[in-house]
Symmetry: C2
Subunit: 167 residues, 2 copies
């Protein structure tokens, strides 16, 4: 596509175009695939499952809501919505902070931990089959490096950066 | 995490775990970043914008709804919802097929094309800054290859495959 702007934009080359399109396709298909798998086997979409995983790795399986949003890379409003649903299922419990009236913790319940333990093998298999089993060792290494670079670039350190969990 | 299943699952190695986590972070942050950029500059989220791009590349800027869902890798119900919104904005028009009573076309309107032309430079810049400008030529090449492999793997050719646009 072309425009009448004063300075010609640096359009993507054909190869960059193909790469970008392949990324959009792969990431859209993968999210759909994992959502289907987890809805079927664990009764929740991938983003909810990921929240349970993050909580399971925290000391005492609890995190401040703001910290959980930051670790899951999502907005606080999206997190609130997700945690409300997870709480309804009995998988997460909210606790007020004693030392900070505004703060709140999310805690993984034993029931939540059980759901995670039960569905983890199927989820790991899905991730393996969709990604790692299809790539050579070199490609696996490159994927890790590239995704690390992109994730860091999208979380600039400067004050006032537009990060989901700060909104 | 561990479980009591008969056959021990092939858990991810530490490196695979890091790669997978980096992918989840990068893809979550990138979708948020592009949604913000496009909402601000074009008044629509990334998935809607992508539908307009796909239509703009089709002959006469029109595609059957099922074909559009397939090219965008989304479900028909998600597409219907998106097209209803795009139609309301005057950017897409629906047309019945004359030769197939069940079929329907989505057509990019002139107004839709203009929105696309106006917002393309900012979107390309955002994609460049988030991805291509951060990677070496080797990494750009590897990313294209890897995403192509993953996208193909997630679209098996066999009949009855659970593909979003066939649901």
């Amino acid at each position: 596509m072309n425009t009448a702007s004063a300075e010609e934009p640096r359009w993507l080359t054909d190869e960059e175009q193909r790469t970008w399109r392949a990324y959009v396709h792969a990431s859209t298909l993968l999210e759909d695939h994992l959502d289907r798998q987890l809805q079927r086997d664990a009764g929740m979409p991938h983003v909810y499952y990921h929240l349970l995983v993050v909580l399971s790795e925290a000391p005492q399986r609890r995190l401040r809501m703001t910290e959980l949003a930051m670790r899951a890379k999502i907005t606080r409003s999206r997190l609130s919505h997700a945690v409300a649903r997870l709480e309804k299922n009995g998988w997460v419990r909210r606790e007020d902070c004693t030392d900070d009236k505004r703060g709140q913790f999310a805690v993984l319940t034993d029931q939540g931990y059980e759901v995670l333990a039960r569905s983890a093998p199927g989820h790991v298999l899905a991730v393996r089959q969709a990604i790692f089993d299809r790539l050579s060792p070199e490609q696996r290494g490159a994927l890790g490096e590239i995704m690390q670079i992109l994730a860091e670039g999208l979380q600039p350190k400067e004050a006032g950066a537009d990060l989901p969990w700060l909104r």
